[in-house]
């Protein structure tokens, strides 16, 4: 069987990508944020996964209101970074892993998850910022990527529990794939933030810290958080945190917390970061 060798959760704030692309990571505003990613970048360099499954959301780039998939799994050979209105990020092309992606697609559909299979997709900051944080600024990404895009823009997103259960189904799929492949899984987005209207700028560090604790040690309790609690307590865009539950579902019931980082702010957002290993 293939193996899930690590779980990596991080916010995917676009300004983090801009800071890296423009060489500003040592500036006083950014230094404390990036300092919290040094240990995990080393961890990832030692882990050397063969493939990364990246759970993220598209922010009106690959998908518009014409078609809104709840869960879209990328089965393509490659994905171009998207122009989100400011021009595309100067990061490498993202290579896919069609063998494992199609295996997961077939497995989770027969496991009664109603996946959308995607063979043409541009990937936005939701996917590329976590790659930059995890792998730095290489000429080419060190491993292929399987993108899993979750709708969190059009209400309602999938429930936290559904995301957690999809993670468990992905785990079963990986476990049944041919031996030898070492797989990392990323949950991205959050933590508390609101980008819109008069309440923009909301941050709730107490909610975020409790979420980090629950995610590690009581994932079923984290999965039971209703949408309205995310919206009210973590801001209208904080609901992205449901995507961390897909990652958590793919890990063992018990995990080791290898690394944690929490920093406010990055632009409008509270940045959280967790590295997990199976216990």
């Amino acid at each position: 069987m293939a193996e899930i060798v690590g779980g990596y959760a991080t916010s995917h704030v676009p300004a983090i990508g801009v800071a890296m692309d423009q060489g500003k990571t040592a500036e006083p505003y950014w230094q404390p944020l990036f300092a919290g990613y040094e240990a995990s970048r080393k961890w990832m360099a030692e882990l050397k996964p063969d493939v990364a499954i990246v759970v993220f959301n598209d922010h009106a780039n690959a998908f518009s209101l014409e078609i809104i998939p709840t869960f879209a799994l990328g089965c393509a050979a490659e994905y171009r970074p998207a122009d989100e209105g400011w021009g595309a990020r100067p990061v490498p092309l993202v290579k896919g892993h069609p063998d494992l992606a199609w295996h997961i697609a077939q497995s989770v559909i027969l496991d009664e998850f109603d996946l959308t299979i995607v063979n043409e997709m541009e990937v936005d900051h939701g996917l590329t910022v976590p790659l930059s944080l995890a792998f730095g600024q290489p000429e080419a990404w060190p491993c292929p990527v399987i993108p899993l895009a979750v709708n969190v823009v059009q209400y309602p997103p999938p429930t936290g529990n559904r995301c957690f259960q999809l993670g468990r189904a992905i785990r079963r799929a990986v476990d049944s794939f041919e031996p030898g492949l070492r797989v990392a899984i990323f949950g991205t987005g959050g933590m508390s933030h609101q980008l819109q209207a008069e309440r923009a700028g909301l941050i709730n560090a107490d909610f975020d810290r409790r979420f980090l604790d629950l995610l590690v040690n009581e994932p079923e309790a984290a999965a039971a958080i209703p949408h309205v609690e995310y919206l009210r307590e973590a801001g209208s865009e904080g609901i992205e945190l449901v995507m961390w539950l897909v990652m958590r579902g793919a890990m063992n019931a018990r995990v080791r917390e290898v690394h944690r980082h929490y920093h406010v702010p990055a632009s409008n957002t509270a940045v959280g970061h967790l590295v997990l290993e199976n216990d």
Partner: protein, 129 residues
């Protein structure tokens, strides 16, 4: 119809009603992902907007860059951010504009830990404040 999230102040949850109302407004914003369209829009905003059957109010809100009004008329911030990008605004500048704060004050608030959750959970807290 009322929803459990209606009580959250200063927030437009992008639900079915808003998505339907804002469809053409958001699809206009989406078109600005293409560099050529951004140029065409900047060259002649009014005639570019003619391509999209949005309401007169929506059109007015776009031309006036009334960011909160766009959201009130069914806009979603990930879409309207593409209009902001076309104008050369960063996401933080856009956010500050929507709060009515000066950019420097908004930035300072974020550096001090952001807008606190206390007092910002429900509309009743805002009407008293």
């Amino acid at each position: 119809m009322t929803a459990d999230y209606d009580d959250i102040p200063g927030t437009h949850v992008f639900d079915a009603a808003r998505s339907r109302q804002g469809y053409h407004l958001n699809m206009f914003c989406m078109s600005l992902r293409v560099a050529g369209n951004r140029e065409a829009f900047k060259a002649d905003e009014a005639s570019y907007l003619d391509r999209f059957p949005m309401s007169g109010e929506q059109r007015q809100a776009v031309l006036a860059r009334d960011w909160n009004r766009m959201l009130g008329l069914g806009g979603n911030v990930y879409y309207t951010a593409k209009l902001a990008a076309t104008d050369g605004l960063t996401f933080q500048e856009l956010a500050a504009l929507m709060t009515g704060m000066a950019l420097e004050d908004y930035r300072d608030m974020m550096l001090r830990g952001g807008r606190p959750i206390a007092g910002n959970r429900s509309k009743s807290e805002w009407s008293n404040g």
